[in-house]
Symmetry: C2
Subunit: 468 residues, 2 copies
């Protein structure tokens, strides 16, 4: 009764037609076009989006005369490219870098030649690249970085977030909401214009926490990301600087996605020329012919890898195997775009089954060295025909402050364990397995003694170079 | 030179013996026993740990005369038990509940009969259970709750964290550090005494966000948790109130672990008597004989479920199948302890392969209705013999504010999709498949029309009761 009285006090008979629709005079009060709240350029930021001016990334290529002969820090090379992206877009003011206090640590410091860190307060002479109009947003709060970047993208600009791999989990929950927002607005709401993708560089990754140790080791953000809708998410594991450049250029051009790139910052061997890198990244996965010796027949084993450190260990294992067992036919597969592993029906980048079977065979053992938690590779490939022959090595929560090689040894991802994995799984090697495995055991014992005595890896590990 | 001068100024010849060891007088200065920093009871909190006084949890049992005949809110029943745990340990002051502003929303409000929310400021009469010495720590900051609870456990006390399932991701990174800390201290450091486990209740879960919608739907914390070392982590999905009671009692007695319990707070059918619940939870996985009809021979299909809503939908599907296809032999399997699915070598709770094969068969189709992201079940079971016959339904990031049943329909987890999944996968049903699938289609069309018109689920869905 009271409710009815109250509602009737608004005199609905004056506001609605007999059919219950709003009267035309009131309907006319609603704003139209860009005056509508959701279609206003301030909220539909895609309307304001302008393409970035991008220099030719191939101009930053590391010279690779032969695989493994050059050494470079991948993210430092990327930083030079980003410096020039920053320079090219300074006047349009639509590009920023975001991150906790790690811009220099993750090797992007060259960007400071062009623009400093945003800082509104008084500065003193000792301050390092602080500027009132600096375009590098640096604050030791991953939450703030993520929030800033989301707002920046949603209002029509472009950006890149760099973070230590382990600590990006701090914004897991915020990532979820952005992914859900993108899924809903890009698929279900036709009038929303695409915005620039949210790009993450995760560096200082799980395998190279030589001084920080176990607390700084967590490659699980990838696992978190791949649970979100497949149209939205991309994960890239470029194995060297040239592939990282190619992937970076691609991510800066993409729209309405979340791109996760994991790449190392330490000096590391370089594998591909820029031409090879572009082709490899376009496919996202491929056989490395120069490392394989099965071109003229069936392989005995497929050695797959994803991530810079697993790629290094895989190639070092192949090197040992080709010396010790020259008759063994090995196919080396590298994965840059992790989503290629999923079936086509599950992810737009997924390889068709036929193509996957061509690469991984349908009956040969696959030893897969992976950057993160090994189970993820099984989760992505369990429907593939040769899945039962797939054996994955990765991070299994073993670690401490130790040498880089000891980290891979603790997790059975090192070249020697990979050699043993191959010997265990290729039937025709049974006869000679004992000898090779004894060699592996001896090497691992040498390793343990050496690092205990000298605190660094053995010279033959540190200085190993691909020999073919 | 300067360095040498400076170091020599400490006169090392007076401090060290010729062999380079500290001289005995200085060695004697180091504290011994509990005076050592790490062995002090304030830092080695396990030394102060006293067992909780626990009332008999079976006294709180919901009366279940026949499966599905009683209705209860599982976490409200758990709240009554926790109320009395609180009461029994009030004088020893070593038990607290933690959570954002959700203690009442997650149905633990009964605990306020015994102790209020901690509040140090002035109160006014309208305030709801605020007390200076309240033992419920409530603050809308998951970070603060997690930090408080970790400190409380590490200093030898007991606690329980309740949270909306989707938002526990906020503390993903803090969880990581606690898990890494437990792994290191419980395995590698013999003199550290065990501390009470970190217990999470995740309620208001993905399937019942009727009013909050897509932003509140995320069952991925489980995925995050299972990447950590298996000795440390446990995940429980009790399907009703009595199983939740049994699991809760177990978690409060456990040490050095992280226990994640996911359970609903909405009125829901109750399946097991307390006696059945205790047996089921002790195994962690089991065939529900009362729901199965394959006791006298091989099943045609195994219908497995984990989580309260998937269990409801599975039983409703079994009900339909047994009515429409009475000759079909169905085995119903329920999983409370998710870790039983993993191989024994991967997790201490993992079922031996032989036992797993007994339950899931080695050759029959398995339709698995799972609470979270479906891929997790594949990741846990990919090594099992019958994995190639496993078909999992779960949350695939589809959702909005809608009815409870519409949520499961959007994710193909509803009874009708499950019926269709069975019909598609049992070869001898091919002949009749078209009829059953037409029935399924018709039901789903009715559902869509009905909820659009009435804004709630069809009576036959809302009021469905297990009929055997």
């Amino acid at each position: 009764m009271l409710l009815e009285q109250w509602l009737k006090s608004y005199q609905p008979e004056e506001l609605f037609t007999e059919e219950g629709a709003l009267i035309p005079e009131l309907q006319a009060l609603a704003p139209v076009g860009e005056k509508r709240m959701g279609d206003n350029p301030h909220t539909n930021g895609g309307k304001l989006l302008r393409k970035l001016r991008l220099p030719d990334f191939s101009a930053y290529a590391v010279n690779v005369e032969a695989p493994g002969k050059s050494v470079a820090e991948a993210t430092r090379v990327q930083g030079k490219f980003l410096r020039d992206v920053m320079a090219a877009n300074l006047t349009s003011k639509n590009f920023r870098l975001f991150g906790p206090d790690e811009t220099a640590s993750n090797r992007w410091a060259d960007v400071f030649d062009v623009s400093g860190r945003t800082w509104m307060e008084r500065t003193i002479t000792e301050d390092d690249h602080l500027e009132m109009d600096g375009r590098v947003m640096e604050i030791l709060s991953e939450h703030t970085c993520q929030g800033w970047l989301e707002g920046y993208l949603l209002t029509g600009r472009h950006g890149f977030f760099n973070c230590y791999e382990a600590f990006i989990h701090i914004i897991d929950s915020m990532f979820n909401q952005h992914a859900k927002w993108l899924k809903t607005t890009s698929k279900d709401i036709a009038w929303r214009r695409p915005v620039a993708s949210l790009n993450y560089l995760l560096s200082s990754h799980v395998w190279r926490q030589d001084h920080n140790g176990f607390s700084h080791q967590d490659p699980g953000f990838i696992d978190h990301v791949v649970n979100k809708k497949s149209d939205i998410i991309r994960v890239y594991l470029p194995p060297d600087a040239n592939t990282l450049l190619s992937v970076t250029d691609h991510c800066l051009r993409s729209r309405n996605q979340i791109n996760v790139i994991v790449a190392g910052k330490q000096p590391a061997p370089q594998w591909l020329t820029m031409d090879q890198a572009i082709k490899h990244c376009s496919s996202g996965i491929g056989i490395w012919e120069w490392a394989s010796n099965d071109a003229e027949g069936d392989p005995d084993v497929v050695m797959a890898c994803a991530g810079d450190v697993p790629t290094l260990e895989t190639l070092a294992a192949v090197d040992i195997l080709r010396q010790k067992l020259p008759e063994l036919k090995i196919r080396v597969v590298n994965v840059v775009n992790l989503m290629t592993l999923q079936p086509k029906e599950e992810h737009p980048h997924g390889l068709p089954d036929r193509h996957f079977d061509d690469i991984f065979t349908t009956d040969k053992p696959i030893i897969f060295a992976y950057h993160g938690y090994p189970w993820l590779i099984h989760r992505l490939t369990y429907r593939r025909s040769n899945h039962h022959n797939l054996h994955v090595r990765g991070y299994k929560e073993e670690g401490t402050t130790s040498t880089p090689f000891d980290m891979v040894v603790m997790n059975d991802l090192d070249r020697f364990h990979l050699v043993a994995d191959v010997v265990d799984r290729v039937p025709r090697l049974r006869q000679r397995a004992a000898y090779v495995k004894q060699y592996v055991r001896d090497q691992l014992i040498d390793h343990r003694h050496y690092i205990r005595q000298y605190g660094e890896d053995m010279p033959e590990i540190r200085d190993w170079i691909w020999s073919y």
